[in-house]
C-alpha cells in the first residue's frame, strides 16, 4: 500500500506577530495509515498542536500562515481544496477532540442537542432520529444513563464525562481519522486511564486511525504504534514506539526519557536537559537543539541536520543519530 490515509508533507507554518515572524513549523512530514495510532510528542511550543490545527483547517490565519507543503487526505491536498470540500472532509472524515472539553461545549444547549445538531445538519436526519443516534453515541462512549443524560447541560457533567461527550460528538459522522489533542491532560489519573482505554477501544472497534498529540511519555507508551517527536517545529525523531523507548536515536528524545521520574523505581538524581526550548522568533542556527545538547559539535551549530533514514521506518534529525543508536557516543 503506497498511499497513506493522511499525509502531512513538508509543511511550513509561520506566525506573524508584533515582535516578528515566528517560524512555528519547519518542514514537518508524517503519515497515518488506516487503523493505526500515531503519537505526536512534544513540549509546549514544539508545534504539535499547530500541525493538527492545520490539518483540521482551524488554524487562525492571520497570524498564522502556511508557507509551504501539502496535507493529503486519501491523496487529495486539503490545502488546495475548495472551502466546501474542505468542510466535508473536516466533519465527516477527520474529527478532533480537544483538551478543554468545557470550553469546547456550548453551555446553553443540552449535550443531546449538540451531538444531534451535526447529524441533522450534515446527514439531514430528523430531530427524533438524530436524538436517538445521540443516545447511541453516548452509550458507545459509556456514559451511564445516556437516555436521561442527553437532556443535561455540559456543566452537569464531570470533567471525564464531558470529555466523553466531546468524543461522542466527534464520532457522530463516523470519521476515519480522529485527532486527539492532549485529550486527558486536564483530567485526573484514574479518569485519564478510563478515557485512554475508551479511545483505544473505539479506535479498534470503529477501525479509525488516530493521531494522539501529547506531552506525556507514559500515555504514548500505553497506546501508540508509532511516535513522532517534535522539537522547535520539526520532527526530530520518528520511530516505532518499542524501538524508540528502547533505544532513542535523537539526543532530545534520549534526554526526555532520562529526565522523567519513574513510578516503578526510586531514582537518585534526575538527568536533566539543560536550558530552555528555543524562542522561535530567533531560532538557533543549525540544529535547533544544539544549545541544549550534550553531544553538540561544531557541525550542529552550522548545519541543520537532515532527516537520516535509519531503516525500518525510523528517522532521526541528528548528525550523530547512528553513533547514538550504536552507543558509540
Amino acid at each position: 500500500m503506497n498511499e497513506h490515509l493522511l499525509e502531512v508533507d513538508n509543511l511550513f507554518i509561520e506566525f506573524h506577530t508584533r515582535d516578528g515572524v515566528s517560524k512555528v513549523i519547519n518542514g514537518v512530514s508524517y503519515h497515518l495509515n488506516a487503523g493505526e495510532t500515531l503519537a505526536v510528542l512534544g513540549e509546549s511550543g514544539s508545534g504539535k498542536s499547530v500541525t493538527a490545527q492545520a490539518i483540521m483547517g482551524i488554524l487562525d490565519m492571520p497570524p498564522g500562515k502556511i508557507t509551504r507543503g501539502r496535507i493529503l487526505y486519501r491523496g487529495r491536498d486539503l490545502l488546495t481544496m475548495s472551502k466546501e470540500e474542505r468542510r466535508k472532509v473536516r466533519g465527516e472524515e477527520i474529527a478532533m477532540v480537544f483538551q478543554d472539553a468545557l470550553s469546547s461545549l456550548n453551555p446553553v444547549f443540552t449535550v443531546g442537542n449538540q451531538i444531534s445538531e451535526t447529524l441533522r445538519k450534515r446527514k439531514g436526519m430528523s430531530k427524533a432520529d438524530a436524538m436517538k443516534r445521540a443516545v447511541e453515541l453516548m452509550d458507545q462512549v459509556k456514559i451511564p444513563g445516556a437516555k436521561e443524560r442527553v437532556k443535561d447541560y455540559p456543566h452537569q457533567f464531570s470533567g471525564g464525562m464531558r470529555q466523553r461527550v466531546m468524543i461522542a460528538m466527534s464520532l457522530a459522522m463516523d470519521p476515519k481519522v480522529l485527532i486527539a489533542d492532549e485529550p486527558t491532560t486536564a483530567l485526573d489519573v484514574t479518569v485519564q486511564a478510563q478515557i485512554m482505554d475508551l479511545l483505544a477501544e473505539l479506535r479498534r472497534d470503529l477501525n479509525m486511525a488516530m493521531i494522539l498529540i501529547t506531552h506525556d511519555l507514559g500515555v504514548v507508551a500505553d497506546v501508540a504504534d508509532r511516535i513522532a517527536v517534535m522539537y522547535a517545529g520539526r520532527i526530530v525523531e520518528h520511530a516505532d514506539v518499542h524501538a524508540l523507548y528502547k533505544n532513542p536515536a535523537h539526543p532530545y528524545t534520549k534526554g526526555l526519557l532520562e529526565s522523567i521520574p519513574r513510578l516503578d523505581a526510586k531514582g537518585t538524581e534526575l538527568a536533566t536537559i539543560k536550558g530552555l526550548p528555543p524562542n522561535l522568533l530567533r531560532p538557533p542556527t543549525g540544529c535547533a537543539f544544539h544549545p541544549r545538547c550534550k553531544y553538540a559539535q561544531d557541525i550542529c551549530v552550522t548545519t541543520t541536520p537532515p532527516l537520516l533514514d535509519l531503516g525500518g521506518g525510523r528517522t532521526s534529525a541528528c548528525h550523530f543519530a547512528k553513533e547514538l543508536l550504536d552507543g558509540r557516543i
Partner: protein, 336 residues
C-alpha cells in the same frame, strides 16, 4: 535519619466550607468536607509527599498549613506549638518558618514588581531578618542559589520562562530561611524537560539547608522520586500513609492500588504484563461523601461493613505494617 525529631505534627485537621444559599440572609444548606480529619507527622529534613486527585482536599490542606484558611477543628503543631493559636510576634515568626512554593509560576509573581522586589519583599515585611543595606546582596545570593543570573535583579517576571519563574518563587520562599516548605504542585505547570531541573533544585536546597518539605502533587512518579514518605488522600482523608517503598511497592489500600495502576508507564513493553485496575465512575462530591468508607462506591472489594463502619487509618499487620484505612487491606503488587 531514623530517629530525627518531629518538626510538624498535624492532628485531626478538619476544614468544612459552608454552602450558603439565599439572597439577603444566607442560610447554611450544607458543607463541603474538603479536609476531614487528617493527621500526620513531618520530621526534620524529611519530604512527605501527599498525592490525590482533584477534590481530595490536598490544596485545602496546603492552605491550612500556611494558615491561609482557619481549620474547623484540629491542630497543627510546629516545634510543639499549635500554629492556629499563634498571634502577634509568634505568628510573624511562623511566617518566617513555614513557606510555600505555589503551582502556577505565572500567577504567583506580581507582574508589576521586579524580581529584586519580589524576592526582597520578605525582608521588607520582616525587616529584622536582614539589615537594609544587606538586602540586595542577599537577593542576589538567592538568585544565584536557585540558578538564575544575579544580574537579572531588575527584570520583570514576564521576561522569564515558566521554569525560571518557578525558581524565582523558590527563591522568595527561601528568603527568610524557613524550616518547612509546602510545595503545592510545584512542577505540574512546567514542561517535562524543565520539571527535572526544578525537582533537582528542590532536592539540592533540601540537602543544603536541611529543609523539610510537604510535597503535594497529583503526579505519582514525581512524588515517589522526591518523597521519603507518602500519604494518599481521597475525599478529604488520608487513606494510606507510609514510606515511599511501602506505598509504591506494597500498597494495601484499594484506592492506592487503583491510582498506581492508572499511571501510564513510559515503557511500551510494560503494556502487556501490567496489572490493570480500572475504577468506575468519578469521585463523589465532597459535599455529600458516602457513608462509612468514602471509597466504597468505586471499590471492587466493598461489602456491607464498608457502608456502615468507617475504616480508620491504623496499622493493619495482616497486610503490611503501615497505616491503611481499609477494612480489607491486603498487599497487592501493582507497579512493575
Amino acid at each position: 535519619m531514623a530517629e530525627s525529631e518531629t518538626i510538624l505534627q498535624v492532628e485531626n485537621l478538619v476544614k468544612h466550607f459552608p454552602i450558603r444559599q439565599g439572597i439577603l440572609f444566607k442560610k447554611k444548606v450544607g458543607e463541603v468536607k474538603a479536609v476531614d480529619g487528617v493527621s500526620f507527622e513531618l520530621k526534620r529534613g524529611e519530604t512527605l509527599g501527599i498525592v490525590g486527585e482533584s477534590g481530595c482536599g490536598k490544596s485545602t490542606l496546603a492552605k491550612l498549613l500556611m494558615r491561609l484558611e482557619t481549620p474547623t477543628a484540629g491542630r497543627a503543631r510546629l516545634n510543639g506549638r499549635d500554629i492556629y493559636r499563634m498571634g502577634g510576634s509568634e505568628l510573624r515568626r511562623l511566617r518566617r518558618n513555614v513557606q510555600m512554593v505555589m503551582q502556577d509560576p505565572y500567577t504567583s509573581l506580581n507582574p508589576r514588581m521586579t524580581v529584586g522586589d519580589i524576592i526582597g519583599e520578605p525582608y521588607e515585611i520582616h525587616p529584622e531578618a536582614a539589615p537594609r543595606g544587606d538586602r540586595q546582596r542577599r537577593v542576589q545570593e538567592l538568585l544565584d542559589l536557585v540558578g538564575l543570573n544575579p544580574e537579572h535583579i531588575n527584570r520583570y517576571p514576564h521576561q522569564f520562562s515558566g521554569g525560571q519563574r518557578q525558581r524565582i518563587g523558590i527563591a522568595r520562599a527561601l528568603a527568610l530561611r524557613p524550616e518547612v516548605i509546602v510545595c503545592d504542585e510545584p512542577v505540574s505547570a512546567l514542561d517535562v524537560s524543565i520539571q527535572a531541573q526544578v525537582i533537582n533544585l528542590l532536592e539540592k536546597l533540601q540537602d543544603e539547608f536541611g529543609l523539610s518539605y510537604i510535597f503535594i502533587a497529583h503526579d505519582l512518579s514525581v512524588v515517589r522520586h522526591i518523597s521519603d514518605r507518602v500519604g494518599v488522600m481521597y475525599l478529604g482523608k488520608i487513606v494510606e500513609i507510609g514510606t515511599e517503598d511501602e506505598i509504591y511497592a506494597r500498597p494495601t489500600h484499594p484506592y492506592t492500588q487503583a491510582l498506581l495502576s492508572a499511571v501510564p508507564v513510559p515503557d511500551p513493553e510494560a503494556r502487556a504484563h501490567r496489572e490493570v485496575i480500572r475504577l468506575e465512575g468519578d469521585v463523589p462530591s465532597p459535599a455529600n461523601p458516602p457513608s462509612g468508607c468514602r471509597f466504597r462506591t468505586r471499590c471492587w472489594k466493598a461489602q456491607e461493613k464498608c457502608a456502615k463502619e468507617e475504616p480508620l487509618l491504623v496499622l493493619r499487620p495482616a497486610a503490611d505494617p503501615h497505616p491503611s484505612a481499609c477494612h480489607f487491606a491486603e498487599q497487592r503488587h501493582v507497579v512493575a
